[in-house]
Amino acid sequence: MSVPPSSAPAPLADAPASVADVAAGLRSVGYLPGESTALVSFLATRLGKPVLVEGPAGVGKTELAKALASYLGRELVRLQCYEGLDEAKALYEWNYRKQLLRIQAEASDTGWDAVQEDIFGEEFLLARPLMTAIASEQPVVLLIDEIDKTDQEFEAMLLEVLSDFQISIPELGRVESRTHPIVLLTSNNSRELTEALKRRCLYLWLDYPALEHELEIVRLHTPELSETVARRLVEVIGMVRALDLKKPPSIAESIDWARALLLLGVKEIDTDTFMETMSVIVKHRTDMDVVADRVGLKLSAPADVA
């Protein structure tokens, strides 16, 4: 049997040995990965390929990057994308103030050539996130957050960085990566990303977790909350998500709600408690009406589910 020749880089030095290791590692830093999350994270560390993480807001896309970083003991370099993000903000910029000072300090007794050579050295370079990630001595986790917010031009620029892990600076030459960063790109799917970018990435779709999984997450973050309340909470969150809302509650909001209930010393989630604390999970005026209408009433009904 012959597998086509692979151009894979050797697995990273600190790469975990199996999927189970990654799952356990992520758990140990407080992130409970789903099955596919652990698998794709494992593949990312083994193959050194960027991972494109898509999914609705608040399912832990950014958290995953943080958890990976702390599990692998790497620094997290984060590039938050927004409309109009350009190379100067993402790659590098010259520190013109310092350059100016340098010129002034030396202008009187140095020739132009010497100064010119001088002021375009690495000392005067302001490294932005992408540059930081690539030039870092220690391997890092690079998080490019909300890539769908940028324009296609920026995406095109990223291609070079993502496939070759190098940056060309006209005045300096090429900066190549010394270590192999783990790259995570997140997207809320508000815009279709280009094929070229997708081709370079592994794909991970994160969705709202299943009931049991979310229960586990909530329990992990608020261990003091009683099992029954936590279960009821997760069920209610599930009901709320099933409605058509402008912004369905995220996992972070379930945890916030659990904390709020804990602080209030709630023993049972009934209509009154729900109405009072609803604002923790529902954050739109119109959504609140819908939720109060549909879920609030359901809670007041005798628990025929059990």
Binding site: P4, E35, S36, L43, R46, E83, L100, Y203
Partner: protein, 503 residues
């Protein structure tokens, strides 16, 4: 959900091929997969057994279903398979999915193709080796009580959504009914027959006794999964009987579509309109007329001056912050666009959700501003009711009068139209023989920054009969638009003219 789709003629077993596994190797048309494999890669026949060949076939199959699988993706797939253990089906599937399917839609197609592909691969291998299941026939005929028991068990499994139990019960159900009824020979019909006999329905059945899981209706998706399992088991039995694979069919639209409903559609329109806003804000013409107000960016000017020894030769300007776009939407609500009006109204609804500075108008014979209705009412259904009942569009004849609409619109907004404004018309441009007054429309287009026309008719019908879209197209950009996908195309197309103008 879609029983008719499943009744395709292909699922009738091929009659001409004699039974028995030994006949299979001599019948290449029954062995579609290995056959295509040899056709495609004749050079290295020796290597083509085993997993690599199967993965390549899977890639082929995905491509046939419209998933864009490039060579680099295939290489990645092989690479990841080198990293994981092949014994866990979930890992195997997830690893392939991570490399081959790169969007949610693709992922769905991948799941379907993956299941079908490996199901077929296993079955054909089993047929070739002559592996048969013996226990199927050994199940004895069930008594009525046992049958009732089975019904209850299945209903409970569906309610709990436990996949494993459902699979086992599907086999039992098939076996039980095989004794009672003659199979129709068409799998889709058999599936529905068994489902009906079991009394499984999504609707509540209040006549059933308290405590029966079927009483409140069963979850729709569990029901669909159970049907799929029934179907799969029936197919398996058929393949076993005939020792032959039915030809594989391309996935239907119904299969590949993500589960959706009217609310999901509305949500999809909202999502696209959110993109529209971003495009309009960052790439619109609203920068026109602002050139004189450019501010010098001292920082960047100084930095640029370094190249000229500290003398600011080149001035750098501060980037112009995009202003909020203003939108005017005109929406046709006459009878000729009835079929598209729900879509149009949901577009309007979404636009109102996204844009602050927006005025919307509906028109038939005359024009009526409905901005307030949208601003005061969030509920989509109520909005459409209000518009249809008291928008006051002076619906005397029920026929659209575009000429009149333009002149009234121009009177109402003349002073507000400026280059930062975008005018969007939703309508079919059918004038019912009246004067289109393209000259007034031209005035509107000249005053506004950009003008777009979204026409719900297929392009084929444009300019036939009383459609005068050509007259208007001179002054605006017209798009065919009656689905979310086309709306997305429209949003994507928005960038093009701007790039052309800039370059």
């Amino acid at each position: 959900m879609s029983p008719d789709r499943r009744d395709g003629p292909e699922s009738v077993s091929a009659p001409s091929i004699p039974d028995g596994p030994e006949s299979v190797p001599s019948k290449p048309e029954g062995l579609q997969a290995p056959n295509t494999r040899l056709d495609r890669a004749p050079t290295s026949g020796a290597d083509l057994d085993g997993l690599p060949a199967r993965i390549l076939e899977l890639g082929e199959e995905l491509r046939r279903e419209g998933v864009k699988v490039g060579t680099s993706e295939m290489l990645d797939a092989f690479e990841v398979l080198g990293e994981i253990s092949w014994t866990s089906q979930d890992d195997f599937r997830e690893a392939l999915a991570a490399t081959l399917a790169k969007s949610q839609e693709d992922r769905r197609v991948f799941e379907l193709v993956f299941d079908r592909f490996f199901f077929r691969a296993v079955e054909i291998a089993a047929a070739r080796e002559g592996v048969r299941e013996e226990d199927r026939a050994s199940l004895e005929e069930l008594s009525d009580e046992q049958l009732e028991d089975l019904r209850a068990q299945i209903a409970a499994a569906l309610r709990d959504g436990s996949e494993g139990a459902m699979r086992d019960l599907a086999r039992m159900a098939i076996a039980a009914f095989a004794h009672r009824q003659e199979g129709s020979g068409v799998i889709g019909v058999d599936v529905q027959r068994i489902r009906r006999a079991l009394g499984l329905r999504a609707e509540p059945q209040p006549e059933l006794p308290q405590g029966d899981p079927r009483r409140d209706g069963l979850p729709r998706d569990a029901l669909r999964r159970f049907e799929a399992l029934l179907r799969r088991e029936l197919e398996r039995a058929q393949i076993e009987r005939t020792g032959n694979l039915p030809p594989s069919r391309p996935l239907g639209e119904l299969d590949r579509a993500l589960p959706s409903g009217p609310l999901a559609d509305l949500a999809a329109v909202h999502r696209v309109v959110a993109q529209l806003r971003r495009r309009l804000a960052t790439q619109g013409m609203q920068n026109r007329g602002h050139r004189h107000h450019a501010h010098v960016d001292v920082r960047r000017t100084m930095r640029a001056s370094l190249q000229t020894g500290g003398v600011p030769v080149v001035l750098k300007y501060r980037p112009r912050r995009p202003k909020r776009p203003e939108i005017y939407v005109l929406c046709d609500v006459s009878t000729s666009v009835t079929s598209a009006s729900v879509f149009f109204l949901s577009v309007l609804h979404a636009l109102h959700d996204t844009f602050r500075k927006m005025r919307s108008f509906v028109f038939i014979e005359r024009i009526s501003e409905v901005t307030d209705i949208f601003e005061h009412e969030r509920n989509f259904r109520k909005v459409s009711e209000q518009i249809s009942s008291d928008a006051g569009v002076a619906d005397i004849s029920g026929y659209t009068d575009y000429g009149r609409v333009w002149s009234e619109f121009l009177v109402q907004v003349e002073d507000d139209l400026h280059p930062r404004a975008t005018v969007i018309v939703l309508g079919d441009a059918r004038t019912n023989g009246r004067d289109p007054r393209a000259d007034i429309f031209a005035q509107i287009a000249a005053r506004a920054g950009r003008t777009f026309w979204l026409n719900p008719e297929p392009r084929l019908y444009w300019n036939y009969g009383d459609s005068v879209i050509a007259a208007y197209e001179e002054f605006c950009t017209a798009f065919e638009c009656w689905t979310t996908a086309q709306l997305e195309d429209f949003v994507r197309a928005l960038t093009r003219p701007v790039i052309a103008a800039a370059g």
